[in-house]
Amino acid sequence: MRLQEIDTGDTLGSRLLIRFISTVSGMRLPDAARVAFYHKDFLGGVLGPWTQATMRGPSSWSVGERELMAAMTAKWNSCAFCVGAHRATSARSLTREVVDAALSDYRTAPLPAPLIAMLGFLEKLTRTPDEVTSADARLVLAAGVTQDAMADAVAVTTLFAIVTRYADALQFAMPTEAEFDKAADMLLKRGYA
C-alpha cells in the first residue's frame, strides 16, 4: 500500500473496524475493503452504491457471470489483485474449472454464447475504447443480449476499469489463494456497499 493512511485507517472508527474484521475473519482485511473505509466523504456515497447495484442488483446476468466479467476486466488490465478476488468469487457459482477456462480463453470456454459475445465487446471496450462501434454492439444484440443487459455489463467493466487502476496505483497487497477464497465469502455475503 503506497498511502500509509489507507492501510491504518483515517478515523478511530475505521481503525477499530479494520482491526475487528481482521480478528473475526482470521485474515488481514484486504486493501480493497480498506479503501472502501477510507475518506468516505469523497466517494463513499457514490462509487459503493453503483458497484453494489451493478454487481448485486437486478440484472439478467447472474452474480457469478458479473463476477466473471469483473475477473476478465481485471485480466485485461493486468491487475493481479482483482483477478484473484473475482476469480474466487465467480468460482463460487460458476466453478473454478469454468472460470479458469474463461481466464485462459473465454472464446473456447464452456460459457453461454451470449456471454461469450458480451465478453468480446467488453474486451474491446477495455483495450481500445475509441474503436468500439455500433457494429460491435449489434453483434452482441444478435447473440441474444438485450440493450439493458449490455448496459449492465458495460457498467461492470467501467467499474473495474476504475478499481483495477487504483488497486495497482496504490499497490494493493496480494492475499494468498486461501485468503481470496475467504474474502469471496465476505464479498458474496456483504456485497460492495
Partner: protein, 108 residues
C-alpha cells in the same frame, strides 16, 4: 433476456459530478485534469502528468516514485488519494461513454 435495470446512466453522471465538479480536499479543476489526462487527454503539469498518464495507460506499471512525487506535492494521503482515484475514474468513464454510445447507436 430482460432486466429491471439499475439506472447506470444516473450513477455515472453522479460519479462524474462528484469527482470532477464538487468540493473535496483538492481543487476540482486539478481532479478534472487528472481524469482527462488518464482518459487520453493532453499533458498536464508535473508531477501529476506522469501519474495520471500511467494510471490511464497501464496502472500496473505505476511506480513508487510517481505516487511519492504527487504525495509530496499535495502534502497529505487524502489529497493524493483523491487525485489517484480521479485519474482512475476518468479512464473508467471514458469506457462507459464509449460503450453506451455504441449500444445506443446500435438501436437506431
Amino acid at each position: 433476456m430482460t432486466s429491471q435495470n439499475t439506472d447506470h446512466r444516473a450513477f455515472a453522471l453522479r460519479l462524474e459530478q462528484r469527482v470532477f465538479s464538487e468540493p473535496a480536499e483538492t481543487d476540482p479543476d486539478l481532479r478534472r485534469r487528472m481524469g482527462e489526462r488518464a482518459a487520453g487527454g493532453s499533458p498536464i503539469a508535473a508531477p501529476y502528468d506522469a501519474l495520471a498518464h500511467q494510471i490511464g495507460e497501464a496502472a500496473y506499471r505505476v511506480s513508487d516514485a510517481q505516487v511519492a512525487a504527487v504525495r509530496d506535492m499535495v502534502g497529505t494521503d487524502r489529497k493524493a488519494f483523491e487525485l489517484i482515484v480521479s485519474a482512475a475514474i476518468g479512464a473508467g468513464l471514458r469506457r462507459w461513454k464509449a460503450g453506451i454510445a455504441a449500444i445506443e447507436g446500435a438501436a437506431e
